[in-house]
């Protein structure tokens, strides 16, 4: 039961992007098409689950004072594995994501989970936590990249949605569009939260 809670908290109540504002750089940079977004989400989830489990196994061995460098080395190892695997098996996606694959190392979501969760918890909860957070991150990437691709390019997963008369909103696939999309989404989530609290206080 508690495992289910660890899993589901990452998706909505503690969503790394919308609730904690972590891991924003890759989110803004690679969300111009849905396939890029999903690719990035899967890569980050893989690294998060692997690093969470190793860090959880080593939590009693690693001295408190040098834990951050140790975490970074563990994360960097898995990022290198992901990097080489993607270069070998998905060269197109790898070329489109560019330097944002190696930059998963400094994604604050991953180091944040190591510090806040897997460094203190057993193996199974850590894996489940990694899966939940990774899924929450992928979901956020999916929402943002879907909005940007549909508005900015008139397509979804590369499939044209509108007729030839549709004028794409070019700004949405530029970095400026990424900033605005995430700004409005964060505002929307705040609004939902406020409304819930207002209802509670009214009762």
């Amino acid at each position: 039961m508690s495992l289910l809670k660890e899993f589901s908290k990452g998706i909505y109540t503690q969503n790394p992007v919308f609730k904690q504002a972590l891991g924003l750089c890759p989110l803004l940079a690679v969300s111009s098409t849905v396939s890029n977004g999903i690719g990035m989400g899967i890569a980050a989830t893989f690294v998060l689950v692997c690093s969470n489990s190793i860090i959880s196994l080593l939590r009693k061995v690693v001295p408190k004072k040098i834990r951050i460098p140790v975490y970074i080395v563990i994360i960097a190892t898995f990022v290198t594995i992901t990097d080489l695997t993607m270069a070998g098996f998905a060269p197109d996606l790898y070329a489109r994501l560019g330097i944002f694959v190696p930059l998963i190392v400094v994604n604050c979501m991953i180091l944040g989970r190591a510090e806040a969760f897997s460094g203190k918890n057993k193996l199974l909860p850590s894996i489940v936590d990694g899966l939940g957070m990774g899924l929450g991150f992928t979901l956020a990437l999916f929402i943002i990249s879907a909005i940007r691709e549909i508005l900015g390019n008139g397509t979804f997963f590369g499939i044209p949605l509108f007729g030839a008369s549709y004028e794409p909103v070019l700004v949405m696939i530029l970095p400026a569009g990424a900033f605005m999309t995430i700004g409005f989404l964060l505002g929307l989530f705040n609004w939902l939260e406020n409304r819930k609290q207002n209802k509670k206080s009214a009762v």
Partner: protein
């Protein structure tokens, strides 16, 4: 000729490929620290300093230990038949070098200049996980910059980041007094402002540098 190349690198790093608005690197500290002008300037200076240092150190490490050229020290040290290609270690080595460097710089500043430490010190630990720093090292390698070019790129990228931070801080200080819908206050409106500034910066892409 050389100076011209450096100038092109500088202008493009500050305006055309601004780290925040065009390459979208270093967003977490950008949104986090741009609330006040003082902290924005402090953070900007710290980032510029670390970006320059990281470019220098990453270039040295890459050229003498990782790259498959005859300059590689392992090639001479172990008398290998051909230069070893260790570039697959880039990510791990760079992040370790940067983390160590930041820690070291923090200690040196703390010992030598307490006043500088007071203004920059609190920002330095934050910078280790700033993706702009690892990003500049990786971008230098990807672009194949030589030593001086790497330094110029690192330094001007830092200047570009500082300009972005200061612009944003100026706007956000004014926004404090404005009547913004409750749910949009703070981070959401900051992102929308960043989007608008990014649009303005898009105008620089018309510059012909070559």
């Amino acid at each position: 000729m050389e100076l011209r190349v450096l100038l092109i690198i500088a202008v493009s790093a500050i305006f055309l490929n601004n780290f925040v608005f065009s390459r979208v690197l270093g967003i977490c500290p950008y949104i986090g620290v741009s609330g006040q002008m003082d902290s924005a300037i402090g953070m900007g200076m710290a980032v510029t300093f670390v970006l320059t240092l990281a470019s220098i150190v990453a270039w040295l490490v890459y050229t003498f230990f990782l790259a498959p050229t005859t300059a590689n020290l392992f090639y001479h040290l172990f008398a290998l038949e051909k230069p070893p290609d260790l570039t697959f270690l880039n990510t791990i080595v760079f992040i370790l070098v940067i983390a160590t460097l930041v820690q070291f710089v923090e200690m040196v500043i703390q010992k030598t200049s307490p006043s500088l430490y007071k203004s920059l010190g609190i920002y330095l630990p934050l910078i280790t996980t700033n993706c702009a720093v690892l990003g500049v090292a990786l971008l230098n390698v990807a672009a194949g910059y030589r030593f001086i070019e790497s330094i110029v790129h690192g330094f001007t990228a830092g200047i570009g980041f500082t300009i972005a931070l200061v612009l944003m801080a100026g706007i956000r200080e004014k926004l404090e007094l404005k009547d913004i819908p409750q749910s949009m206050r703070g981070t959401p409106i900051a992102f929308i402002m960043a989007g608008l500034i990014a649009l303005a910066f898009l105008g620089f892409s018309g510059l012909k540098l070559m």
